[in-house]
């Protein structure tokens, strides 16, 4: 009734091609942004920021990055933890070795380093595909685990292999309280999400999708697979690298290579599978599912006033979380993003479905 595009006529190509062609969608997005930038900082508690919102936003960015590669270009990667680690350690080295380094510049340089590594590990994708590629990218994971814990130079010769960063500030504005960190992450992620959305709507994104859907056919119509696959690896690793730098600098503050182990890669892959492959929106849903749900499940018994031991609560968390993943994959193999769009379709007809 309220949500329908009747009467919204597009008279220009520009108007027809915008990201959210329906007026109500635009309102909705502005409302979400308004709540995220103004509403939440006014009301949320420190716990909500530090333990839930900041990790959620940062991992959303990593999920968007991985989604560009897996969801849009169809190249399965298990090396995202490694690219996060490269981003984090590269940004760290730029930050501590160059005095007066700008934080955002360090993040971008970290992302660029991750991009280079991503392209190198993306080269096998030219010859192998599918599960074989996944195994090849897994090599990136083990390589990064090894190099960051073995080569002391990367950790600035820290005795324990754990590094930490000083107080952060951007252009003279300090980024130390939870609210500041949250807004900082949110700003970066909003910008990157917008870029990603536009990238996948443009010719690069279309060439990725063509490769994903059928690479031989794509080649026949004039898309260069080398170019398409490597750009997908490059852009994806850049995003993941920046997310890794943010995860390390803003969320953890001090970290060791273990923070980016193979579990992180698998986590990110689950996020985009559950959230929805080939959907920027789905990356956010998936990140929310993987980051927030375990914490909710863990704290559930406590809120409901059920006395239960810590170990039992944790075991319950694993069981329920695992079965929910299975449940969602059976009910909606295309992920939460698909549920979202089905919901919107229904809303268009509501309340007269016939």
């Amino acid at each position: 009734m309220l949500y329908r595009e009747n009467g919204q006529f597009k008279t220009t190509y520009r108007g027809d091609q915008q990201i959210f062609p329906i007026l109500q969608d635009r309102w909705f997005v502005f409302a979400v942004l308004l709540v995220a930038f103004v509403g939440i900082p006014l009301f949320a508690s420190e716990y909500l920021f530090r333990a839930i919102l900041i990790p959620f936003i940062i991992l959303s960015l990593a999920a968007i990055g991985l989604n560009l590669l897996v969801g849009y270009c169809g190249q399965i990667s298990l090396g995202s933890g490694a690219f996060m680690a490269v981003g984090a350690y590269a940004a760290y080295n730029f930050f501590v070795r160059i005095p007066g380094m700008n934080l955002i510049l360090a993040f971008v340089l970290g992302g660029l380093c991750a991009m280079l590594v991503g392209v190198v590990f993306g080269i096998p994708s030219l010859r192998i595909r599918g599960l074989y590629l996944a195994v090849a990218t897994l090599a990136a994971q083990f390589f990064s685990d090894w190099i960051f814990s073995r080569v002391a130079w990367f950790t600035n010769n820290s005795s324990s292999g754990s590094v930490s960063v000083p107080q952060l500030s951007v252009f003279g504005i300090s980024v130390s309280t939870p609210v500041e960190k949250y807004l900082f992450c949110l700003t970066l992620v909003s910008v990157f999400a917008l870029l990603a959305k536009n990238l996948v709507r443009g010719h690069i994104g279309r060439s990725w999708m063509a490769i994903r859907d059928m690479d031989v056919a794509a080649e026949v119509i004039g898309i260069r697979p080398v170019h398409a696959k490597l750009t997908a690896f490059a852009v994806s690793s850049f995003y993941i690298g920046v997310a890794g730098a943010m995860w390390a600098f803003v969320h953890l503050g001090s970290w060791e290579p273990l923070a980016f182990d193979v579990n992180r890669s698998l986590n990110l892959l689950f996020m985009i599978i559950i959230g929805g492959l080939g959907s920027v929106m789905g990356s956010f849903f998936g990140a929310a599912f993987i980051v927030i749900l375990p914490i909710l499940l863990n704290r559930g018994p406590e809120w409901l006033g059920i006395p239960i031991s810590t170990a039992a609560a944790t075991h319950l968390e694993f069981m329920i979380f695992g079965s929910l993943i299975v449940f969602f994959l059976i009910v909606e193999p295309h992920g939460l993003a698909r549920l979202w769009s089905i919901g919107k379709e229904k809303l268009r007809l509501w309340p007269f479905p016939h």
């Binding site: 949320a44 508690s45 420190e46 716990y47 909500l48 530090r50 333990a51 839930i52 990790p55 501590v96 685990d145 814990s149 073995r150 600035n156 005795s159 324990s160 292999g161 754990s162 930490s164 000083p166 107080q167 130390s176 953890l252 503050g253 001090s254 970290w255 060791e256 273990l258 923070a259 182990d261 927030i292 914490i295 909710l296 863990n298 704290r299 559930g300 809120w303 031991s309 810590t310 170990a311 609560a313 944790t314 075991h315 009910v331 909606e332 549920l339 979202w340 089905i342 919901g343 229904k346 479905p353």
Partner: protein
């Protein structure tokens, strides 16, 4: 029809998520009660649970005993809440955020029992003004209280442990100069925990001329064939084991398989508990480990725990766990926090204290032999006294040996050589301060 159901489901799920998100806001602080809140970061699941569980139970039982016997600390009731970290740093940070604001005055002290979590929390505690006790683990350089005002590495650091092990093997060979040309292999858990002793061992190997081999074992440590192949090839004179959880028992089993003599193996104090040797069966006989603060056994305090807690059916774990190494160590860790609160109460009054006040207590702790006896810990720890500059307070340990069913503790008490440790602590602390742009605290000025 199917589609409609699915949509309903989605709406319901969204609504439920929204409701839960609203509930996520922390519950309002309780009315000001005479309570002292001790948060507990524990791990009862995962690869390290066999070691995490007895430690947590020991802490719990001690708090429960004080509540039942004395009504808390001088009448201020102890409240606790557990949070499961699974030994994972990110989960530990979430737990910290979850628990730090609870209780009438916020969290009293955090004891994460994980060097990785300690590293992450070291950056957070100065902002929230909550002390961090890391009894026998964590950053070795945090013994320097001027640069790490909120870290308390009570009773000993990994540098203390490594130094004592070097002293012991030197003595066994008949003098420290005999170590020249000998080979010592460090088999370590590949994490900040396992890497901590390297700095000191390198320093010592330069000074004494022994050859140090570093052999890393990746988390969780069930796969060590490569490490022990290297040991079989190089035949080091001694093996120092820096493992945790399932890695320890695996190492001992691998030593049996490799034929490496167990009496040439020395574990750090976290590699010297029952769960580490029992799975290896008879093969573990003759294995040595360090012990600090609390060897196995039962004393007066255990009788009180049995009487006031376990006999009333309030015990946290099984009764036969009482007196095990890790149980005792958990108990002693809890005791140190409680003693600090006691000291602080003398100055600030017998009420709920804030983190800053408790820190004062920790910096003025003096647990001497008489006090150890008074609280029933006789034979379970060495005296400990801290100051604003020295947050370690003790640097002694003994060597214990597994005889197949019990740990026998050799009487000699070793003391780490502070001539070597002190410069190292100051060097690394200064590096940390430079990285973090910290101005060292002026200990002459008493804070609060």
């Amino acid at each position: 029809m199917r589609q409609t159901n699915r949509f309903k489901l989605a709406v319901a799920a969204t609504a439920a998520a929204g409701a839960l998100a609203a509930a996520l806001a922390p519950s309002p602080a309780l009315a000001q009660a005479r309570e002292q809140f001790f948060p507990m970061l524990v791990y009862r699941t995962g690869a390290y649970a066999p070691n995490g569980v007895p430690f947590a139970n020991g802490m719990h039982d001690y708090y429960k005993m004080l509540n039942a016997r004395d009504g808390g600390i001088n009448g201020v009731k102890i409240t606790t809440e557990e949070c499961e970290t699974g030994y994972a740093t990110d989960r530990g940070v979430e737990c910290y955020e979850r628990l730090k604001g609870k209780g009438p005055t916020g969290a009293t002290v955090f004891q994460p029992l994980s060097t990785g979590i300690t590293f992450a929390l070291t950056d957070k505690v100065p902002i929230d003004k909550i002390p961090l006790i890391t009894a026998g683990y964590g950053r070795s350089e945090s013994a320097n209280g001027k640069i790490f005002p909120w870290n308390f590495i009570m009773g000993g650091s990994y540098w203390v442990a490594a130094d004592i092990l070097v002293q012991h093997v030197g003595e066994k060979l008949g003098g420290m100069d005999k170590l020249k040309g000998k080979k010592i292999a460090l088999v370590y858990h590949d994490s900040p925990y396992g890497k901590e002793p390297i700095a000191l061992l390198e320093e010592r190997s330069k000074q004494l001329g022994f050859d140090l081999q570093l052999i890393a074992v990746t988390h969780p440590g069930v796969e060590q064939k490569a490490a022990w192949l290297q040991i079989r090839r190089d035949r080091p004179d001694f093996v120092f084991l820096w493992g945790w959880g399932v890695m320890n028992s695996t190492s001992i089993k691998e030593a049996v398989a490799t034929g490496y003599p167990r009496d040439k193996m020395y574990g750090v104090w976290w590699s010297g508990a029952e769960p580490d040797v029992v799975p290896a069966g008879d093969g573990a006989k003759g294995y040595h480990a360090l012990t600090f603060l609390a060897p196995a056994g039962r004393g007066k305090v255990h009788q009180d725990i049995i009487k006031y807690v376990h006999d009333k059916g309030q015990g946290t774990g099984p009764k036969d766990e009482i007196g095990q190494v890790l149980y005792n160590r958990g108990m002693v860790s809890a005791m140190m926090a409680v003693e600090a609160v006691r000291v602080a109460q003398e100055r600030f009054g017998k009420k709920s204290l804030t983190g800053t006040q408790v820190r004062w207590g920790m910096e003025n702790l003096n647990i001497d032999a008489a006090r150890i006896k008074a609280i029933g810990f006789e034979g379970f720890m060495q005296p400990l006294s801290t100051s604003c500059t020295d947050h370690m307070g003790g640097n002694t340990a003994q060597i214990e040996t597994w005889d197949g069913s019990n740990w026998t503790v050799a009487p000699k008490v070793y003391q780490a050589d502070m001539q070597i440790l002190k410069p190292l602590i100051d060097k690394f602390a200064a590096k940390y301060a430079a990285e973090k742009k910290i101005t060292p605290r002026d200990c002459a000025k008493d804070v609060e």
